[in-house]
């Protein structure tokens, strides 16, 4: 592994010895990895490998059994995520996330969804509601700003025409984009995307790649994503971490990971010939033992 990698030199997120147990089940076992600042880091692995559990630990929805999750801001703030409640992680540590099964506020309009995402700054602007009810203070101006920000993201995600439609009425691909726009409205340092390309057609998938790369380019947001779609992973990620049964089995650039035999065996499947080779090796080993 070369030392020029961003994740070694300037990590935004350091996950150290993360373990998550549910009763007797070990979902994540002693996982250590780093996500580089400004990188697109992909977390891949077969179903049930513990990827979403890692996400839930990072975003505070689960409290990890053991381990440390350290987040460093560009401006220099440092946060220990395992010690913070979920909403504080979003509010203070500025980690935003999307969900595997889309979680929009379906009965609210697209615009309202994006305004809810800016709750905390707007709450302060409304004087914790007290001044806002009386109509005192600069809430109106701040709300206009919030709508401008919402418009910016509506434009980027091509949802401008649907701004006043309920979120639940949008087609699937648009809902995925809206969830990303909503997460970006919180102005995150780290954006965690749980299978953003799931259920998208190839064209939408390519468009999503452009959107994500654009986010990294213009906002400087670091991206951490779980993805099954290998074309997305290989095309946009700078760094890939592979999990299997809650354990890290590979870590490196997409090219490195792609050629890692362990990954091929675990994730992409083992070729028939290779199975024979492995079986042969095992025979030799057992024979030696005997």
């Amino acid at each position: 592994m070369s030392t020029q990698n961003r994740w070694e030199n300037d990590p935004i997120l350091e996950v150290q010895h993360l373990t998550m147990r549910f009763g007797g089940l070990v979902a994540v076992n002693d996982l250590t990895f780093r996500a580089g600042r400004g990188d697109v880091t992909a977390l891949i692995g077969p179903n049930g490998a513990g990827k979403t559990t890692v996400f839930n630990c990072i975003t505070g929805f689960y409290k990890p059994t053991t381990g440390m999750l350290q987040l460093k801001h560009r401006a220099g703030g440092e946060w220990l995520l395992e010690r913070m409640p979920d909403f504080k992680i979003a509010q203070k540590a500025r980690v935003a996330r999307t969900f595997q099964n889309i979680r929009l506020f379906s009965g609210m309009t697209v615009l309202e969804n994006l305004l809810v995402a800016q709750h905390n700054p707007l709450m302060i602007a409304s004087g914790m509601t007290f001044l806002g009810v009386l109509g005192i203070g600069g809430y109106r101006a701040k709300e206009k700003e919030a709508i401008e920000r919402a418009k910016y993201w509506l434009d980027k995600t091509r949802l401008m025409e649907r701004a006043d439609d309920p979120a639940g009425d949008l087609p699937y691909g648009a809902q995925r984009r809206l969830e990303i726009a909503r997460a970006m409205c919180t102005e995150p340092e780290l954006l965690c995307l749980d299978e953003p390309a799931a259920g998208l057609n190839p064209r939408e998938s390519a468009e999503l790649n452009q959107l994500l790369l654009g986010i990294r380019e213009t906002e400087g947001t670091s991206l951490l994503l779980i993805e099954h779609d290998m074309s997305v992973v290989m095309e946009i990620s700078d760094h890939v971490v592979v999990l299997e049964y809650g354990t890290k089995i590979s870590d490196g650039t997409p090219a490195e990971v792609k050629s890692d035999p362990k990954v091929i065996a675990a994730y992409l499947g083992v070729d028939d010939e290779e199975v024979e080779t492995v079986e042969h090796q095992l025979d030799v080993l057992t024979g030696e033992a005997n």
Partner: protein
């Protein structure tokens, strides 16, 4: 046979309806013939004899036949065509027309409410207006206010609160006790009662925050009962089930509404009547209800209101966006409770007497029913539901003329709950999401579109 001749006529399928009716008639007669038509009784010699009451059985059968015929011919087709229509997507024009209609209706209603007492005085005279202003106007407005208050908790935040009447009780007893023991004026105690009720809302809020759905409903229900039982049993504090009487009345800038020389009637040289006080109370509760509506409408456009609605839609997503759901739920509880506290202190001042009797679970159930029937989250819907439910039950008291039909033993009051229940079931079948189910967005970029109730979630506690 008259029915089959009608079958030839165009429109509803009377032939099929007649067949249905005949079939139900046969079943009904087979059932009620032996059950009602034959009655066993003891005669003078203590012998068991069978009395022939075939007339009654035939009457019941006739009712069943007629009812079934009407259902098959008119009601079922109407429901079926209704179902077809509601499945179709509303065009933007229809939605715009609907929201314009709602706006006009609320403006007209507001104007009507402002002139209502004078209208009643004009129609029924000063003395005759008391019933209409007090029993109808004030009573309905109290429930409108309570409905709007609970609407914040249930309709916006999606937290099913079955113990709302507890905060109403807190407000009422706050005013009663503080006014009697410390001789404070209504105008000081009104906000104070609200604050105390909000405080109790927070106290209830803390333990129930981690509960959802059914569990939340049960705990809030228990809380309502606890408050009532404390009021009954802590006799030194609240006077027990005897309640508190001779609670001071409200004054208008120090002017009392009584027969004293400096009283309202003498001051303006009007004949003595309690109607002026009632009219004054009417405007007071109207102002309080409008305050509730105004604050709620304001709050909906503020981040806290949007957070409430977001909480109702998806709590997990809220937390992922950095919203402190604990505080958000607490504020919903507290603000909802505050308005109940206002209403409670008004209630105590109006009645001049409070007792735990007024704060039974039935009251909570009625308020919840108003919110659900009105359409959760809709101010206009809740107001309509309050008028229908409370005005409807009051109107039933006016049905004593039915005694002519049903005999002197008939008491329409006894059928109140029955009619009430049937009406609610019918409403929920026809309009499952309440009278007004569409949600109005709180922020608009290009064009205001109402959101269909199908997309809006009810919340999960």
């Amino acid at each position: 046979m008259a029915e089959s001749s009608k079958a030839a006529a165009a429109g509803p399928d009377f032939g099929k309806a007649a067949k249905d009716a005949l079939l139900s008639g046969i079943i009904a007669f087979a059932l009620f013939g032996p059950l009602v038509g034959l009655r066993t009784a003891q005669n003078m010699n203590n012998e068991l004899v069978v009395l022939n009451e075939l007339g009654k059985a035939l009457l019941i059968t006739a009712i069943v036949v007629a009812g079934r015929f009407l259902l098959s011919a008119f009601v079922f087709p109407a429901i079926a065509s209704r179902g077809k229509k509601s499945k179709a997507i509303l065009t933007p024009e229809e939605v715009a027309a609907a929201s314009a209609r709602t706006r006009n209706v609320s403006r007209g209603a507001l104007l009507f409410l402002l002139v209502y007492p004078f209208l009643m005085v004009l129609i029924f005279g000063v003395q005759g207006s008391i019933k209409w202003v007090d029993n109808f106007g004030i009573q309905i407005l109290i429930y409108v206010m309570l409905g709007w208050g609970l609407n914040i908790v249930i309709g916006l935040a999606g937290l099913l609160d079955l113990g709302y009447v507890a905060f109403y009780a807190v407000g009422a007893y706050s005013y009663a006790l503080l006014a009697i023991n410390f001789d404070l004026s209504f105008w000081i105690l009104l906000p104070l009662s609200g604050i105390l009720a909000a405080f109790w809302g927070m106290i209830l809020g803390f333990p129930v925050l981690r509960l959802r759905g059914d569990y939340l409903a049960i705990v809030t229900l228990a809380f309502g009962e606890i408050i009532r039982l404390v009021l009954i049993n802590w006799k030194d504090f609240s006077g027990g089930s005897a309640g508190i009487s001779s609670i001071p009345k409200v004054t208008l800038f120090g002017i009392k509404f009584d027969a004293s020389p400096e009283g309202f009637a003498k001051m303006f040289d009007l004949p003595m009547s309690s109607a002026y006080y009632k009219i004054f109370l009417y405007y007071l509760i109207l102002a309080l209800a409008l305050l509730t509506a105004y604050v709620t409408l304001r709050l909906r456009r503020l981040p806290i209101g949007r957070a409430w609605e977001a909480l109702r839609e998806d709590e997990v997503a809220c937390r992922s966006l950095g919203i402190n759901t604990t505080n958000t739920k607490l504020t919903a509880f507290a603000i909802g409770a505050m308005f109940a506290g206002f209403a409670g202190s008004f209630f105590a001042a109006r009645q001049g007497f409070v007792s735990p009797e007024s704060f039974v679970f039935m009251e909570s159930a009625v308020i919840v029913a108003i919110v659900v029937l009105g359409g959760m989250g809709s101010m206009v819907g809740v107001a309509i539901a309050a008028v229908v439910m409370i005005g409807g039950t009051e109107l039933l008291r006016e049905l004593s003329f039915l005694k002519v039909v049903f005999g002197n033993d008939f008491n329409p009051d006894q059928f109140r709950m029955l009619i009430f229940g049937l009406a609610m079931v019918a409403t929920m079948i026809v309009r499952p999401r309440g009278f007004v189910s569409a949600r109005q967005p709180t922020a608009v970029l290009f064009e205001r579109k109402a959101i269909s109730g199908d997309l809006v979630k009810e919340g999960h506690g």
